[in-house]
């Protein structure tokens, strides 16, 4: 796709698909903008000659539209790169191709810094620079250390080991993962061989008998270097860099992938240490970004490096000035809650899921044996059942062992695990729903379990078990300004609802406070779901024929974590009022809500 076309298409698409990017459009409609489109087209063409080979170009063409309408920090960022590209003649970096396209962006950007950068960008649009962009089409050129040499003077490489390639003058140092990383896939070929042997035992045996020492040695001589080379390449070509607004991850030798993660969109950063990684002293950094199914992760980093990188990312995401983000370090934390192993074990003993799965695992296989007398059937059924029973009892104990909740300025810290230690952070203000679950047998002890949904994150447990009062304090911390409604404050469903849902209708209840929409459900296992009004994305009212006959309706609120909270069986008139009022509260709630950058 040529650049002018892309400009046109992307301009349209951008307007529709990125309402946020276009928020601060402003200058974009000026005649100058029109001119820059033309210019960018020209530079785009010049750049195309060489750059078109890089997969990045297509991507760039897409971002062009969004960039044109500015307001998008990425555009400003690229424009900055453009500036440095103009200054430092470091146009060998692939970014130059991007620069040529981003030319228009700087023009129309509302960012004052970007405006001056556009001047530089124009120089980047010069034939010379365009020529340089051509060389940028060659990935090797970008990879060579030469880039680092030409990379301006601003001490781009403090540590030559980690910052081999530095982007011109910006001081953005690209780093590599920990050298043990390639070994994490070392088990894969072994697993393949074992899998093949199990799948086809006869064939495996036949092949094994045919195998003699020479073939084995030759095979090893081929496979080992190949595997080592693969491991080395995958490690060598995976780099990451933290810029002021983004975390950039580049991977892949043949199929290149460049992920730019906007720090302000970062939902949470987790450090996990699987058992083997704990032995090796490394850790995995998981990044939760909204709207991505596949999680980006940096695996593995040195344990200390992972911790300091997490601190830096969180500090930047929280809005600390970039210069200080390094020094802020790990925010101080104060322990709020620690679950003793005894209580955790007791809570698992008292929960129905544990006994249910155990009973199923113990009862179903013998019954099946009596019925079929086929070993394979019994095994096929028993193994998953035993697995489920193990996961719900021992697995949960191991995973939730020593569960610690600590409070820190960048969110709640969750540390847990007996074998695999995980350190998670739940940023306040990003929690979409909180559920307070109270199984039947916990009620006498006053224990509750708190689950939560964060958009784009898999963290789902906030507190595995805790006395209600303490759990409510934690909830108040994670949903600022929210008090959990009393049981008495929840209004029950009307009595006539018993015809719709016999007996269980008593479990439903609803309370709407200034801050949250709280809906309770369940009779034996009570669950109270809290949704802050600011997190409500849309509101629905549904009413089936049976419900209409009884004059009741359900109200559903949809949140960003793909969870829907239903207030079931409300009086129809009340539900209609609720629908209106909730939409209103969803709008105004956001206005009063705390900013996403909660420390800015």
């Amino acid at each position: 796709m040529t650049a002018p076309e892309a400009a046109g298409d992307a301009g349209d698409a951008g307007a529709v698909e990125a309402p946020e990017a276009t928020r601060t459009t402003g200058a974009a409609e000026t005649p100058e903008a029109a001119r820059t489109v033309g210019d960018a087209g020209a530079t785009g063409d010049a750049g195309d000659a060489g750059a078109a080979e890089t997969p990045d170009t297509a991507q760039t063409a897409h971002t062009y539209g969004a960039a044109r309408t500015a307001g998008n920090p990425e555009a400003a960022e690229v424009a900055e790169t453009a500036q440095t590209a103009g200054d430092a003649r470091a146009a060998e970096t692939p970014d130059t191709a991007q620069t040529a396209h981003a030319y228009g962006a700087a023009r129309t950007s509302g960012n004052p810094g970007a405006a001056e950068a556009s001047e530089a960008a124009r120089t980047a649009g010069n034939p010379e620079a365009a020529e340089a962009a051509q060389t940028a089409g060659n990935p090797e050129a970008a990879e060579t250390p030469k880039t680092a040499r030409t990379a301006g003077d601003a001490g781009a490489a403090e540590t030559p080991e980690t910052a081999r390639t530095a982007e011109a003058g910006n001081g953005i140092a690209e780093r590599r993962l920990h050298p043990v990383t390639p070994l994490r896939r070392a088990w894969a070929p072994v697993a393949v061989v074992i899998g093949w042997a199990v799948h086809d035992p006869d064939g495996a045996q036949r092949h094994l008998t045919r195998l003699d020492t020479t073939t084995l040695l030759i095979g090893l001589a081929v496979i080992l270097p190949a595997a080592a080379l693969y491991g080395f390449c995958s490690w060598w070509f995976t780099r990451f860099a933290v810029t002021e607004t983004e975390l950039r991850i580049r991977t892949g030798l043949v199929f290149r992938r460049t992920a730019h993660i906007r720090l302000e969109r970062l939902q949470a950063v987790d450090v996990t240490q699987p058992l083997l990684a704990r032995v090796a002293g490394v850790a995995k950094l998981k990044l939760d970004v909204i709207g991505t199914d596949k999680k980006d992760e940096l695996a593995f980093l040195g344990a200390d490096e992972a911790r300091s990188l997490r601190a830096e990312l969180l500090a930047r995401a929280a809005g600390f000035a970039p210069e200080t983000a390094h020094e802020v370090g790990e925010a101080p934390s104060r322990q709020m809650l620690r679950v003793p192993p005894g209580v955790l074990a007791m809570s698992l003993v008292l929960s129905g899921a544990t006994w249910g799965s155990l009973a199923a695992a113990l009862v179903v296989p013998p019954v099946l044996w009596l019925a079929t007398e086929s070993v394979w059937t019994v095994l096929a059924v028993a193994l998953p059942l035993l697995g489920a029973a193990g996961a719900s009892s021992v697995g949960r104990f191991v995973g939730e062992y020593d569960w610690t909740v600590a409070e820190s300025p960048d969110g709640l810290r969750l540390d847990h695990g007996l074998l695999d230690r995980a350190h998670e952070t739940v940023p306040p203000g990003r929690v979409q729903t909180v559920r307070i679950v109270e199984p039947l047998l916990w009620r006498r002890r006053g224990w509750v379990r708190v689950e939560l949904d964060v958009a784009g994150s898999s963290n789902s447990v906030l507190v595995p078990v805790a006395p209600r009062e303490i759990a409510e304090v934690v909830v108040a911390r994670v949903l600022p300004g929210v008090t959990v409604p009393e049981r008495a404050a929840l209004s029950p469903s009307p009595r006539r609802a018993r015809w719709c849902v016999p007996v269980w209708w008593r479990g439903y209840g609803l309370a709407v406070t200034d801050a949250v929409f709280a809906a309770r459900s369940g009779l034996l296992r009570r669950s109270l779901a809290l949704v802050p009004h600011a997190k409500v994305q849309s509101v629905r009212m549904t009413q089936g024929p049976w419900e209409r006959a009884r004059g009741v309706a359900d109200v559903c609120v949809d949140t960003g974590a793909n969870k829907t909270v239903r207030a079931r069986l409300r009086d129809a008139a009340e539900a209609r009022e609720l629908l209106e009022a909730q939409a209103e509260r969803s709008r105004t709630g956001r206005r009063d809500a705390r900013p996403d950058r909660w420390m800015a």
């Binding site: 309402p19 909204i290 849309s538 089936g544 974590a561 969870k563 209106e580 709008r587 956001r590």
Partner: protein, 188 residues
């Protein structure tokens, strides 16, 4: 960011209403409470398309169900054609009812979509929460000059689709919603 004024929706709302049938106004009165929203019904194109598809498919099925046993076994077995025919009549009525139940309203700060006969559902999407507005049109829809508008929020459960719109109206709605979404953008 709540700068939306009711006047904003005025012209567009009436323009949209003017484009659709007059029936929209009278229908809206039923569901509106108080100063109620201006409900806009779907244009008849969707009804026509769905009924035609129904007649074509069930017509073919009933023909097959009637002819094959009728010719192979005996004339009496042609009665197999009756169930699909009954289904067709029932579907004809149901499609009409369903089509009549669909309506939407653009208000100052949110979009209302109401639908369903037996299982009624009414959705409210604040403009500020829209992430993406999509206009889609399949080959059959295009043949009948129809397009549907789908709103996406950060919640996947938000099922806010308006099917069977006039393409011009769909584009107007898309542009209008995008514009309003920008003005009231609220993130997640």
């Amino acid at each position: 960011m709540e700068t939306g004024s009711p006047q904003d929706t005025g012209p567009a709302g009436t323009q949209g209403a003017a484009k659709t049938r007059d029936a929209a106004g009278t229908q809206g009165a039923a569901g509106a409470a108080g100063d109620g929203p201006v409900w806009i019904a779907l244009p008849p194109g969707l009804l026509k398309m769905r009924r035609l598809l129904l007649v074509v498919w069930l017509g073919l099925i009933s023909l097959a169900a009637g002819l094959v046993p009728g010719l192979l076994v005996g004339p009496a077995w042609a009665a197999f054609a009756l169930p699909p025919l009954a289904l067709m009549v029932w579907g004809w009525v149901m499609i009409g009812r369903n089509w009549r139940s669909w309506r939407y309203a653009e208000r100052a700060d949110d979009l209302l979509i109401s639908r369903g006969v037996l299982w009624r559902e009414e959705t409210v999407v604040p403009y500020g929460r829209m992430q993406l507005v999509e206009v889609t049109s399949g080959p059959v829809e295009r043949h009948f000059g129809l397009a549907s508008v789908q709103l996406h929020t950060a919640a996947a459960a938000t099922d806010a689709t308006i099917p069977g719109l006039d393409p011009a109206e769909a584009e107007r709605l898309r542009d209008r919603l995008t514009e309003l979404g920008e003005a009231r953008s609220a993130g997640l």
